[in-house]
C-alpha cells in the first residue's frame, strides 16, 4: 500500500501523518501541492495545518492547488482520500465531502482530547475498529463546527455518511451539528475527520486509537486490490 501525504504551504501535520501511515505498514511519500500528479498512491492524506494561511476561509484557497485536480481524479476513480482537520476543510470546500466547517461555537481555538463514537465499523476508514469501541483523539482547530441544513443532514445520516461523532465524557468541542466529527462521501472512499488520528498513533503520545483508522485503510486497500485482481 502506498500513501501520499499532500504538503500545502502551511501544512503542519504532514510529517505526523507520514509517520503514522508508515507505522501502519504503508510505503509513504510526500506530495507537493504544485504537482498535478499523485504518483499512483492508494491513499491520499490531506493533512492538518493552515494551508495558504487559512485566508478568506479555511481550506478554500488550497482547493485551487494543482494537486487538487489530481485528488479529484483519484477520488473519482475510486481511490481513498482522508482529510484530517484542515484537510477536512479543504475536502468540504472542494465539495468532495458534504458540509461546511464554521468557526467554533465556543469562539475559541479548541485543542484538547475528545472521545469519538464510531458510527459504523463496516467502512473503509473504520473496519479495524472493534464494534462498540470509542476512540480517544485530540482536536486542534478554530473552525470545526460542522454544518449542513437539517434536511441534508437527514440525507447524510440515512445513507450512513456519518462515521464519527463526539461523545461523552468530553462531548462536542465546537458546536458541530448532531455532534458530527467525521463524514464520508457517498462512494465511501473520501473521508473528512476533524480530530487528529495521526497525533494519537503511539502510546507515547497518550493514545494509540488513531492507528485504528490507519490500519483500517491498510486493510481496505488490500481488500480493494484483491477485488481488482479477481475482476
Amino acid at each position: 500500500m502506498k500513501v501520499g501525504v499532500v504538503v500545502f504551504p502551511g501544512s503542519n501535520c504532514d510529517r505526523d501523518a507520514l509517520h503514522a501511515a508508515r507505522l501502519a505498514g504503508a510505503e509513504v511519500e510526500l506530495l507537493w501541492h504544485e504537482s498535478p500528479d499523485v504518483r499512483g498512491v492508494d491513499l491520499i492524506v490531506l493533512p492538518g495545518g493552515f494551508a495558504y494561511g487559512d485566508y478568506l476561509r479555511a481550506g478554500v484557497l488550497a482547493r485551487f492547488s494543482p494537486i487538487m485536480g489530481a485528488v479529484r481524479e483519484h477520488a473519482a476513480a475510486g481511490g481513498f482520500v482522508l482529510g484530517i482537520c484542515n484537510g477536512f476543510q479543504v475536502l468540504a470546500e472542494a465539495g468532495l465531502v458534504p458540509g461546511a466547517l464554521r468557526r467554533n461555537s465556543t469562539l475559541r481555538f479548541e485543542h484538547r482530547w475528545v472521545r469519538l463514537a464510531v458510527e459504523r465499523t463496516d467502512s473503509a476508514f473504520t473496519r479495524a475498529v472493534p464494534a462498540g469501541r470509542t476512540l480517544r483523539l485530540p482536536v486542534a482547530h478554530g473552525e470545526g463546527n460542522y454544518f449542513l441544513p437539517d434536511a441534508d443532514l437527514d440525507v447524510l445520516e440515512a445513507r450512513g455518511g456519518v462515521l464519527f461523532r463526539y461523545t461523552a465524557p468530553e462531548g462536542n468541542p465546537n458546536g458541530s451539528a448532531r455532534d458530527i466529527a467525521g463524514v464520508v462521501d457517498a462512494g465511501g472512499r473520501v473521508c473528512g475527520l476533524m480530530p487528529h488520528p495521526e497525533r494519537a498513533a503511539e502510546a507515547v503520545l497518550g493514545s494509540e486509537d488513531g492507528m485504528l483508522v490507519f490500519r483500517s485503510l491498510v486493510e481496505s486497500v488490500a481488500i480493494s486490490r484483491r477485488a481488482l485482481s479477481v475482476a
Binding site: L56, V60, G99, R102, L107, N145, F147, L148
Partner: protein, 89 residues
Amino acid sequence: MSSHRFVVSVMPKPGILDPQGRAVEQSLPHLDISGVTDVRVGRRVELTVEAPDMLAARAVVERLASEVFANPIIETWEVAPASLVAVAG
C-alpha cells in the same frame, strides 16, 4: 476592454449562528453600550475586472463570489458595481 470595479458583500446566512457577531455582541456590555442586538459579521471584497463590457465583468465577479468569496452552504453574497456603493479610500 474596459475596467470595472465591484464590491462583493458576503454575509452568514440568516438563521445560521454567527459566532463572530455573537462575540462582538457579548463584548458590548464592557463598553457600557446597551440596546444593540443582532450583530452579524460578514466580509467585503473589492476588485477590478478587465472585460469587454460591464455584463461580462459582472459574470466573472458572480462566479468568483459563488465559488471563492462565499461558501453557499453557510453564506449569502451580493455583487454591486462600486459606483453604486460607497467605496472606502
